[in-house]
């Protein structure tokens, strides 16, 4: 049995529920056991670090301290969310690189009766343990419904392969872990040069125009390459490309329809699970047509009953009218 400590992260409980469900569905066939960190807290995403340094690192380190206390037989903490993975790894790394930071953070932790020695834990991402611990052979053996004929674009996102403090990934720019895994599931994997480009991160919230541009680049290139759908490893990427695709289309006057699923959802399908066990159908850009290519029928879920009528509502506030200027700048 492969035992790990799990740090799920906030989005796994809400916006990325499908990720959680599908992840749980593949644990058993691969003989993986996760033990959740008791009373874990938010990692602070990319927001906390920009406010105040020591509290931000203390917030992250509380999770590490709890995990270290809890470790029984394993020192590996698995984070399925790229942002959580990066934050946990970053705190562990910088507390070591800058001993004065480590000391201050521990001073804060002590106020809550906790302590963490950096380097105690191995922080790893879900796909890392699947590819490197469980192995592609084991995954291949568990496949009962190969995804043959499904053209998938592997989308790794940015925070997973970078900055890569512990040299875990095959490459910072064009890593192959996700490609290899999807290939093991039998999918037709498309070489996607933008695999580690950014989805816009929190810019969908604070500077949507910037984010729309980034989403556009990803979706347009995937579409150009004839992809049926995109596969991702990160809740934030999924959220931005899925939930904001319609907005993005509206902003640019385009009409893309590029579904994006978590890689675990595709694993679940390949392992013979049914779509509704894997949270398929909770995506806003439906994967129904895409999955029809491999003969998977996604039951029709209730579509939002208030679909936008394009002419309704108020016009988009155009804070920056440099749409043209923007094109100028990137020449």
């Amino acid at each position: 049995m492969n035992k790990y400590i799990l740090y799920p992260g906030c989005s796994m409980e809400s916006s990325a529920r499908a990720y959680m469900e599908s992840m749980n569905a593949i644990l058993e066939p691969l003989d993986i056991h996760f033990e959740e960190i008791d009373d874990w807290n938010c990692c602070g995403a990319t927001e906390y670090l920009g406010i105040n340094l020591i509290p931000a690192y203390s917030l992250i380190a509380r999770n590490l301290a709890l995990a270290a206390k809890q470790k029984n037989g394993t020192r590996t903490v698995v984070a399925p969310c790229s942002a959580c993975y990066l934050n946990l790894a970053k705190a562990d790394h910088y507390m070591q690189e800058r001993p004065s930071l480590g000391a201050k953070v521990n001073e804060a932790l002590a106020a809550g009766g906790l302590q963490y020695t950096p380097g105690t834990l191995d922080v790893r991402h879900l796909i890392d343990i699947l590819v490197n611990d469980i192995g592609l052979d084991a995954i291949r053996n568990a496949v009962v419904r190969p995804l043959k004929g499904l053209k998938v674009v592997p989308y790794m996102g940015c925070m997973l392969p970078r900055p890569d403090y512990k040299n875990r990934w095959s490459d910072h720019e064009h890593p192959t872990e996700l490609d290899d895994l999807l290939r093991a599931l039998g999918a037709d994997v498309i070489d996607y040069p933008l695999t580690t480009e950014c989805c816009g991160g929190h810019m969908t919230q604070i500077g949507p125009e910037t984010a729309f541009e980034l989403i556009m680049r990803l979706v347009a290139d995937a579409d150009d390459r004839g992809a049926h759908l995109m596969a991702t490893v990160c809740p934030m990427c999924q959220m931005n490309i899925d939930a904001y695709q319609n907005e993005m289309n509206h902003f640019f006057g385009t009409d893309y329809h590029m579904p994006i699923l978590f890689f675990t959802q595709l694993m679940g399908l390949a392992f013979g699970r049914e779509p509704d066990e894997l949270g398929i159908g909770t995506e806003l850009v439906s994967s129904r047509n895409a999955l029809a290519n491999i003969g998977v029928e996604v039951p029709v879920t209730q579509e939002p009953s208030a679909p936008r009528k394009k002419d309704e509502g108020l016009p988009m506030p155009r804070r920056w009218t440099k749409q043209e200027g923007k094109k100028e700048a990137v020449k």
Binding site: D171, H172, E173, A220, D221, V330
Partner: protein, 669 residues
Amino acid sequence: MSEIKQERVGVYVCHCGSNIAGVVDVVDVANWAAEKLKHQGVVIAREYKFMCSSLGQELIEKDIKELGLTRVVVAACSPHLHEKTFRTAAKNAGLNPYLVELASIREQVSWVHTDKAVATEKSKAVVSGAVSRVIENVPLEELKVPINPNTLVVGGGIAGIQAALEIANAGFHVYLVEREPSIGGHMAQFDKTFPTLDCSACILTPRMVEAGTHPNITLLTWSEVEKVTGFVGNFNVTIRKKARCVKEELCTGCGICEEKCPKKVIDDVFEAGLGYRKAVYTPFAQAVPKYPVIDKANCTYFLKGTCKACEKFCPTGAIDFNQQDELVNVEVGNIILATGYDLFDARRVSNYGYGRLPNVFTSLEFERLSNAAGPTNGNIVLRDGKTTPKSVGIIHCVGSRDKNFNNYCSVICCMQGLKFAHLVHERTGATVYNFYIDMRTAYKAYDEFYQRVLEEGTLFVRGKVAEVTDAGRNEREKGKLIIQVEDTLAGKQRRIPVDMVILSSGLQPRADAKEVGKLFGISCSTDGWFTEKHPKLDPVATMTEGIYIAGCAQGPKDIPSSVAQGAAASARVLDKILQKEVALEPVRASVDQEMCSGCRICNGLCPFNAISFLEDRMVTEINPALCQGCGTCVAACPAGAISGTGFSNEQILAQIDGLLLRNIEPVEA
């Protein structure tokens, strides 16, 4: 202190103008030494403005003669500067030069401290240490070793060829060893050389032929050095001559075998992977020697047991499939290493797409592409072999000046980039971009070449390229390679679509530089280049006597510098040869066999194999000719049976006591 014998010591404190006297009270130091070190045997202590001047030296010589000094201490600068000066002075006065000690009160005191009282006190301690030590010094004689007049040159690139020719022309024999089937090195692969745009082959080939036919040069190609024993003047070198499977005495170099060979192989070495060769081949038309080799790993006969086409067609019966590797033993006095460099593997910079995007080329690939004798007959085309690019981007500093890869400047890439820009412009008329961090065009006529390329209309963008991608965002970009970069002078990110990208890859040490260094007993810098004896004043010698380095093995450099170093190394070798014998510092370890218990603790400690164990007498012996004098075995011997001249236990212990004298017997300040 330890013995009754009373030496007569003279102490000389130098002012060095105001360099020392400005911070140290030199008069006080001299007076103190005369008074407080009298019990040690100090009979005279003087201070003088410049001890190293001829007057200063005469002062010492006079005292030696008139006062009968048996030991001399000069408190002045670092021994690395003037030890030799004062030793010579002593010698002139009839005193053994090794009975002189320098106390460094300039580099170690006056230049690094400011408080006069503290500096004066430290000077006294340093002088006291030197006095205690010099009493334990013993007279030594320089070691003389005869020099074998033959020389080994390893590496047949331009640096090695130059070195070999210089020595051979002076009338001494050279063994020139080259790993590949032909000499010529990287220079043979180039099309043009910057900044003069000389045809590389035209200027190199005559030198290769000269080296190949010189009566004083024994050419050993397709060969590698396997073992080196001995020391300066007397090296014994074992060379593996790999089986060519071609009898050199019969082969005429007609090339029929190569023509008839049915097996095509991608040529990763000479053609940089961009062209093909046969399984029996000479790397290029002007190869020296002209004899081909059979590449056993790819030859059909060696793989499957049949074929032998070459043998059937050879008009002189020169093919010999049964030929075996041969071990050749040569005796040489000096060795020059000119083993060259490897090109940085551009695939490591994955954001530049080499190996993933077909029309990204490395510099060496481009050299072959633009070479009239290359796979495309000098036509600059895309990977499809026919399309001429309309726009070309040349990226500088690929793998260089980058902590993720090599943290040094590869020196040649800027000029190489300019050369490529010129060639592309001249042959295709394409728009050319150069992307650089800093243009480094130092040296004669280099910057003029930069200006010429500017004049030709090449576009320069200052910025390290962020990425090369084929993910176009609009019609202008689709189907092209897009170079994304911050134009740092315009302060804007730009995306520049081009047809072809050339990566000006850096130079890096040979993959096996560390092992080769070990083989010859020299060290590598942290980057992996061979370490020179002194970076400025002795750039071609190494810390190991008799081993010299030249060309890119010592660090990245261009052709003129490589040639200059090859010549410089040979001058150093000729100097040694003409002296007929070499004097070695008499810092050596020796075993007092009476005291040796035969425990063999020291046996494994010597990296120079100077220590051997005499089984019959159960004692250890040290070969003074092999010993380099590091003293590790001296420190290790539990019986105290090993002593090291120049740095004996007695000397060092006395110096410790001397340095601490003021702590033991406090002297009122």
